[in-house]
């Protein structure tokens, strides 16, 4: 195995143009900050390493970026492997490249944050891989600089959610207005007025009210809504900005 790898390095080295000759190559990884919203709480998926090295420590899930894939593809691959889900909202957060961040080897990591719709199915899936959902304020000590990644991811989520409707990526496709309000209250750690929230939200005209009600939250039941992506995209192109409250 070692020999094969070495041969690969040698072969590759000869193929490269001279302008690369002086540069060093680095390990490049992706790490995923996966957010979920469940039980009225914003949570992050953390992973308990079941193999050495760092066995037993909590960590974000990640992977090296392979030679034949982009960082985005690597992120999607990781998400698929550990949640079973395709088609997840994922965006680059930032890179982590401190020289000493990984004591094992010089390795930079591209942090990506992802928002997933929590259902029983994928919470179970997470458990299968030794993963666990932690409330954002109760994330344990993680390996390397992963706690920093979580902090940065949370801040980014807040910044982006203020102006883009990405919060909806955390809710089921059909959701109620009280659910959405709770989500925003949780993201921004701030109570909001029900009447003002509804009024502002509905005035944006990007929700479709359905005929169904969700009765899981109350006896009366709350109307379900869907997000009108097509309409939102049209408005966005005209310079419209989704914003549920003053910054």
């Amino acid at each position: 195995m070692y020999l094969l790898h070495l041969l690969y390095l040698v072969k590759n080295f000869h193929l490269e143009e001279s302008r690369y000759a002086l540069a060093s190559k680095l390990y490049v990884a992706v790490d995923c900050i996966i957010f979920g919203f469940d039980d009225g709480e914003l949570k992050i998926l953390v992973f308990n390493r079941q193999v050495a090295p760092l066995k037993g420590m909590w960590s974000l899930i990640g992977s090296f970026v392979l030679i034949n894939e982009s960082a985005e593809a690597a992120g999607k691959r990781v998400l698929k492997d550990f949640t079973g889900l395709d088609d997840i909202f994922m965006e680059e957060l930032k890179t982590y490249s401190d020289v000493a961040r990984d004591s094992g080897a010089r390795c930079i990591s591209i942090g990506q944050y992802a928002l997933i719709r929590l259902t029983e199915k994928n919470t179970n899936l997470a458990a299968k891989y030794g993963a666990k959902w932690f409330e954002v304020s109760k994330v344990p000590d993680l390996v390397l600089d992963h706690n920093q990644m979580v902090a940065d991811g949370l801040q980014r989520l807040r910044n982006v959610a203020q102006f883009y409707p990405i919060g909806l990526e955390l809710l089921p496709k059909k959701f109620t207005i009280p659910q959405l309000q709770k989500l925003y209250e949780e993201i921004f750690q701030k109570k909001m007025d029900t009447r003002n929230f509804r009024k502002k939200l509905l005035s944006l005209n990007i929700l479709i009210q359905l005929d169904e009600k969700d009765k899981s939250g109350s006896k009366k039941g709350a109307f379900l809504y869907e997000f009108d992506y097509a309409k939102y995209r049209k408005l966005k192109n005209k310079g419209f900005s989704f914003s549920l409250f003053k910054v």
Copy 2:
């Protein structure tokens, strides 16, 4: 030279822990999207390659990330080398990691955007390195995915400038209100009303009016102001947001 590099690879390979054995290393570069504001125009510093490969082509300036420096340090190093300036505003934009983005070798690049205060001194410096300032709408064809980087950088500048006073990084430390307004009009491609702009700006209470006037723009002269960073930081910690107009 080749032999030395090869020996380095071999040596390094043995030092690495087994968990890295299967991963490939990649070239990691930084590329800088350098913005400047001069002559009432928002400009980008572009570099004409004077050596092979890609001799004669326009390109952003960049460098490989060396084994003993962070990406941020690499960016600062590049800025220092090509502008002679320390202490420049620089922030990570995003990574570019398409497999085929660089035909020479598998290489990812971390785009960083920087804002510099243009003065005669550093415009000259740029010229020395075969660099040239282009108005953002007139940037020529660049190598690789650098035009994409410019487009992304510009969009990011707009997004960030809407809510943070980074525009001030493009002006001299002492600046006039008409200068600032022109800058914003240029960034957002939008004429603004002088009275409303002033009123809003001054109501934020983060500018210090000086006793000097700048007479370069008119016979009457315009009062110079300084940004009150300390005050801004205090306000920001309290949740204040710098925003000069509705989104």
